[in-house]
């Protein structure tokens, strides 16, 4: 069954069709939530909330072919809500992956520094970084997905990218200092 047909069926209340859709979507949604929220429980809660909201509001989706973009908007809202809800007791986790890395040239120290700085960014800045650098969206597409002006998206992306650049440069300088010492 074509994906748009599944969306149509789900929109008409077909729970089985929706189950297929969420089974296909949940991994991608969880990756985005986990990257932005940096926490297993919070990412799980945001994804659950988004999936329930999508089901509840699916009859409002006019164009089934826009399902993914529409779902992403709902997911980002859920992520933002989750971040706000738990801001007080938020704990930033820096997770260094264990195992093979797609780019062997990336130093562990770089990753550690990126994780540290990324974790210190606001959820809004982390969101734009993930949309642009992970999902490959342009600033225009990210702005549309988040629901903010393009200028704001570009500004956030610039700020976040420069913060990450500073982290990498600082780490590079430290490494050079260690080598020359």
């Amino acid at each position: 069954v074509a994906r748009t047909e599944l969306v149509r069926r789900a929109r008409d209340g077909d729970r089985d069709a929706y189950d297929i859709l969420i089974t296909e979507s949940i991994d991608a949604m969880y990756r985005v939530a986990r990257l932005i929220l940096r926490d297993y429980d919070r990412a799980s809660d945001a994804v659950q909330e988004a999936l329930v909201s999508c089901w509840r509001d699916l009859p409002h989706l006019r164009d089934p072919e826009r399902f993914d973009a529409w779902r992403n908007r709902i997911l980002l809202r859920a992520i933002t809500e989750e971040a706000r809800r738990r801001r007080r007791d938020a704990v930033v986790l820096s997770v260094i992956p264990i195992g093979s890395h797609p780019d062997a040239s990336a130093a562990l120290a770089d990753r550690d520094e990126l994780a540290r700085v990324f974790g210190r960014l606001s959820v809004e800045h982390r969101t734009i970084v993930v949309l642009h650098h992970y999902l490959g969206m342009t600033a225009d597409e990210a702005a549309s997905t988040i629901g903010i002006p393009v200028g704001t998206a570009k500004s956030r992306l610039h700020y976040a990218t420069e913060a990450l650049r500073a982290a990498l440069d600082a780490d590079a300088r430290a490494a050079k200092g260690r080598v020359s010492a």
Binding site: W55, R62, A106, D110, A172
Partner: protein
């Protein structure tokens, strides 16, 4: 200094490595469990409200349509007296009965109680709805039957905790379609100028859209004027 290209590559590579391969199984299971108990919000907002083609809608009345569903219209009531029913051969308790019943609308969106008599611009009665968005009361003022078999009953929202649809002081209507099961839809005037009268509200709404497509069956009973 890290070049832009190197920086972009580093960030993307790092994010790819950071992202988990898949969601934990318990997220999917927990989501499924929640979904089992979650109903969809049906299409309360008619498509015209968002349609760029419908400029008239922007200039005229902005309304939201809420479908109300219900099982068993008066046609389903037993022909002889019995528990929960009324003999349809007997005269109506009030000759000018317009609508009376208790039902659940919109697949559970609202529990509705309506008791109205009269017709035209001389309607009295009240509709009380306990909806997911709040509780509201409509003092009913007017009614109209249309050629296509719809019964419009309208009035003002005189009490409401609903700040989404049934705004206090706004014109609102419920539209019934007779049948088995009976169907219904709410029409709310939300953010446009208040119609000049209760009956004018029906006209204003019909200029924008036909609510027939938004009708949904109800769960419960409603007795409607013939």
């Amino acid at each position: 200094m890290t070049t832009r290209h190197e920086l972009d590559r580093s960030i993307s590579t790092w994010l790819q490595a950071e992202a988990p391969d898949r969601a934990p199984d318990d997220v999917l299971e927990a989501s499924r469990e929640r979904l089992r108990h979650t109903r969809q919000r049906r299409a309360w907002m008619p498509a015209w409200r968002y349609s760029p083609l419908n400029n008239l809608a922007k200039a005229a009345v902005a309304a939201a349509v809420v479908l109300v569903v219900g099982f068993a219209g008066y046609q389903l009531l037993p022909r002889t007296g019995g528990v929960g029913g009324q003999p349809t051969v007997a005269p109506s308790p009030t000759p000018s009965l317009l609508a009376r019943g208790t039902f659940t609308a919109l697949d559970g969106w609202a529990d509705v109680e309506i008791d109205a008599t009269g017709g035209g611009s001389d309607v009295s009665g009240r509709l009380v709805a306990t909806a997911q968005t709040g509780t509201f009361t409509i003092d009913l003022e007017c009614a109209r039957s249309t050629a296509d078999g719809l019964l419009w009953i309208g009035g003002d929202v005189t009490a409401s905790t609903d700040t989404t649809y049934a705004l206090q002081g706004s014109r609102t209507a419920i539209v019934f379609k007779r049948g088995t099961p009976a169907q219904a839809v709410f029409v709310f005037q939300i953010n446009d100028p208040r119609s000049a009268s209760c009956l004018a509200f029906f006209d204003d709404m019909l200029k924008i859209d036909d609510p027939t497509g938004a009708l949904r069956p109800i769960e419960g009973t409603v007795e409607l004027a013939p």
